[in-house]
C-alpha cells in the first residue's frame, strides 16, 4: 500500500503513536540494563571492545530496509518484526549473565515479543505483504569460551539492540503525520 494512503489512516496513526511509546519504553529498559552491565562488569564503552567484538564475530539484525531512500513500509516492518524476534532469543544470554535482574530481562523479552506481534498484526490489518528474511545462524547464543566473552557478548546484545530500536523508532516516526 502506498505510503501516502497508509499515513492517512486513523487506525494506523493510533498504532504508530502507541508503538512509538512502546519502543521508547523498551529503549529505556535496555538502557537500564546497559547501566547494570557497566556497573557489574566494568564494560561500558563500545570503543574499548571492538577487537573482541571482531574476534567474537558479532553481527547485527538487518534493518537496511528502514534506512534506504526507497523506504518500503512492508520490508521495513518485516525487518523490525524479525529483528525483534531474534533479540527476544538473544536476550536469554543477558538473562544468564544477570541473575539478579531476571525480572527486567524477562520484561524486555515480553515487550520485544509483544512489539513484534503488534507490528505483525497491524501489517495483517493493513493487508501489507509479509516479507520473511532468512534467519540463518541467528538462534540464541552458542556457549562462549570464557566468562569475559560471555560478558562481552551480553554487552553487545544490548548495544546492538539499542541501535536497532533507535532505527526502528525513526522509521515509525517517519510514518506519523
Amino acid at each position: 500500500a502506498p505510503l501516502a494512503e497508509l499515513s492517512g489512516d486513523h487506525g494506523f496513526q493510533v498504532f504508530l503513536q502507541k508503538n512509538l511509546e512502546f519502543t521508547r519504553k523498551i529503549k529505556g529498559d535496555v538502557a537500564a540494563l546497559q547501566r547494570v552491565v557497566c556497573d557489574t562488569f566494568q564494560l561500558c564503552k563500545e570503543e574499548e571492545l571492538l577487537l573482541v567484538r571482531q574476534d567474537l564475530g558479532i553481527t547485527q539484525a538487518p534493518l537496511e530496509q528502514c534506512h534506504s531512500r526507497t523506504f518500503q513500509a512492508e520490508a521495513c516492518f518485516s525487518q523490525i518484526r524479525d529483528g525483534l524476534r531474534v533479540y527476544h532469543g538473544s536476550l536469554a544470554a543477558v538473562r544468564e549473565l544477570l541473575p539478579g535482574h531476571t525480572g527486567l530481562v524477562e520484561t524486555l523479552q515480553l515487550d520485544a515479543a509483544n512489539l513484534s506481534s503488534n507490528i505483525q498484526q497491524q501489517m495483517e490489518d493493513l493487508g501489507l505483504a509479509m516479507v520473511t528474511y532468512p534467519t540463518e545462524g541467528r538462534g540464541p547464543l552458542p556457549a562462549l569460551s570464557s566468562h569475559f566473552h560471555h560478558q562481552v557478548g551480553g554487552f553487545f546484545v544490548l548495544a546492538n539492540f539499542q541501535r536497532f530500536l533507535e532505527t526502528a523508532y525513526r522509521a515509525l516516526r517517519h510514518l506519523t503525520r
Binding site: E48, L51, Q54, T59, G137, L144, Q151
Partner: protein, 308 residues
Amino acid sequence: LLLLRPGGTLGCASVAVGSPVVPLGSAITASCTIQSELCHGLEQGKVRITWMLDNEPVDGSQHRGPGGTEVSNLTLPQFNRTQAKLWCWVEWNGTKQRIGMAEIRAGYPPAKPFNLSCILDLSDYGLTCQWEQGADSHLPTSVALKCAGSRAQAVTGCTPQGGRSRCTVPRRLLQLYRQMEIWVSATNALGTTESEHLCIDPMDVAKLDPPALQSIQSIPFQTDCVALAWEVARSNAHMELQCELRYQAPEDPAWALVTGIVGQAGTMQHCGFLFGMQYRFQMRCRRSSARGYWSEWSLGRNYTTHEK
C-alpha cells in the same frame, strides 16, 4: 546481538590466573597470551600488552611466547582486595582495547559456626536452629544445617535463606524421642568447617505453650491461704510436666516463686499472703525431664485477698 559466524573460534587472546580464589593478602600471578594472527588487524611483533586491576594500571613483563604468541606475565605480591577484575589491554588502530579479563576473589576459609541452639515448635513440630556465623570470609560460602538420626542414616537438615543464620528442619525429617546429631557446615572455595555437634532429642528442646490459670480464691475464708486451679496447654497434654508459680504484690518488685508443681491440671494451695492485698499470679511449665526450655509465663491473673 551476538550472531556468531558459524564455527568462529575465539583464540585471539586469553588471560590465565594461578587461582581465581586466593587467601587474602597472598600473591597473584597471571598471564595474558595474544595470538596476533588470530586478531584481525593486530600486526605481529608490534603488540603492546598492558594490565589494569579494576581501574588501576599495573605493570607486567612482556616477552615473545611459543608459536608467535606475545605473552605478558604479571605478579601482584600481596592481593588485599576481596574482589577485583584483572584486565588485559592491547593497542589497536590507535585505540586501547580490552582483550581479556579474569575475576579474582580473595578471602578466608569459612569461620567455625558456634553457639548452635535449637527449639522445637509444638505447633508444627518444626525444629528451628540458630547459630553464630563467625567472621566474614568475604567469599561465597554455602552454609547448611545437618541433621542425622542416631543410626547415622541419611543426613538431612535445612538451608538458611537470605544469608540468615537460622533455619527450620521440617517434622518429616526429624526423629522424635530419640537422640539426633545436629551441626552446621560451612563451605567456600578455600575450605570447609563444621560447628560443634549437638546430640539432642528434639522433644527435649520443645518450646512448651504456657499453662492457663483457671481460677484463684481464698480458702477457707479466714486463712492467709489461696487456692489456684490451673491447666496445661492442649499441645502439652501428653507430657509429664513440672511447673512453677510466681506471684508479686503491686509495689514489690520481687516475685515469690513456688516450684515443684507436678501434673497436668489441678488445684494447688499456697499460704502466707497478706490480707486485703492485690497479688499478680503467673505460671510456667517445663518437661519433668528438666531438659529443654521453660514455656513463657502464662497470662497474668490478679487476685485481691480478703480483708482480715
